[in-house]
Amino acid sequence: MQPNIIIADDHSIVRKGMKFILQSILGYNTITEVSTCNELMNEAVKKRCTHLLLDVIFPDGTSLEVIPNIKQLIPNIRIVIFSMQLPEVYSEAFRQYGVTNYLSKSISEEDTIAYLKKFLNNETALPVTGNMPSKNNPFATLTPRELEILHYVLNGQKTKMISHTLNVGMSTISTLKKRIFEKTETDNLKQLLELALLYNINF
């Protein structure tokens, strides 16, 4: 069966680059492009997608929030995370959500093509790509839920707003926030922001 591919990334220039690789080099023609989590949910179901190339940070949230929903709606979908974010921080979290494929945007074009070829041929156990991981990135110990919250915290959102956006109780958010500060050994937002920059966490 011809794969039905969806590219989710908020930069259209990135989507075009991927579209070129998929269409002209690998020869796949059914490609949909989306730029937000919301669009992704709508299009993925409507077009019955089989393969998803997924960025991590979107203007309306992170892909950690949508993966459980997508997997529920389309159980057989194959997902690859395609992001600038460091695999050592995020790949474990995605693995816990059942997504093991992680393609870093920082690797060369040839490697990207080779990886995508295997991914679209439904080969399993693809290696996690990326630069040499830093062994003790303090953010690597965060759980998926904590990484989700981390994104909003780094963007300066208050507990009340995060609770509103994610539709989760305020006390749960407070606990998760407290754990983020504990695990990263920071005392306040300023220190957390600086640490995030140092360890290349985009937000």
Partner: protein, 290 residues
Amino acid sequence: MILFDISYRSYLLYIFIAFIVCAAGWYFIIWPFFKKHILIREKLRLFFERRNREIKQKNEELEKNNLIKTRLISIISHDLISPLKFIHMNTKNILENKDKMSLELQHEILSEVANSSKELELLSTNILNWIKYQNENRRLVKEEFDLHEMVNQIFSIFRGLARQKGITFVNTIHKGMILYQYMEPVRIVLYNLILNALNFTEKGSITITGGETKKGILIKVKDDGIGMTHEQINNILSEYFIVSSINVDKRKGNGLGYLIIKDLLKLVNAKFVIKSKKDNGTVVTIFLPI
């Protein structure tokens, strides 16, 4: 008895005199000393309080600047580096693999390269705008300039983007309206207001009007865009806005525009008011005191 009485009275008198002497001594010698001492302490206390306030304020400012810097670094890595990487990759592919690509895809990619590089230009200009005004010792001077001309100039930067979206620009400021103001800050603020209006308007027009009152100049930027809720406006005005990139209606925005607007307007003692309703356009009025 009498003898006793006399000695008793003189005894009282001695005590009284001694008391007077003591009181006078205290009042003329010790009290002035005390008074001086208390006054000095009070002065010192006030002095330290003021200093403390100043240091605290300075600290807050530095902290705020620091947060802005962190925000900028994040913007640079997410919104500058990865688009540049892909612009490079896309153009290289068009050069090398033209024969493998459909004409349609080539056209699609090229127009995206054009859009993205324009966006990158605007973003870099804005980052530069902010950095330029971070120098403590900047010396701002007022100068004369033609507001009508300035607005036209800014419009011309965005002409291409507006044409693509089918938005018309209207400049109702009468020709030859000369202001004596801080030219560069006014230009940067207008640039950002117009860019915002353009980003959040799908069809209609963007209108700039200007007027004079006894106390200063009013400039209005009006659009027919998606508007803002009360909450969104408060969010922009809040001090915490600096680290927030909360997007209006899930649209992309990095919050840099209003950050610069607020910073610069404060620098030149100007004020601004946002009037907006969801789905009903936005009017931003800035007031520049004479």
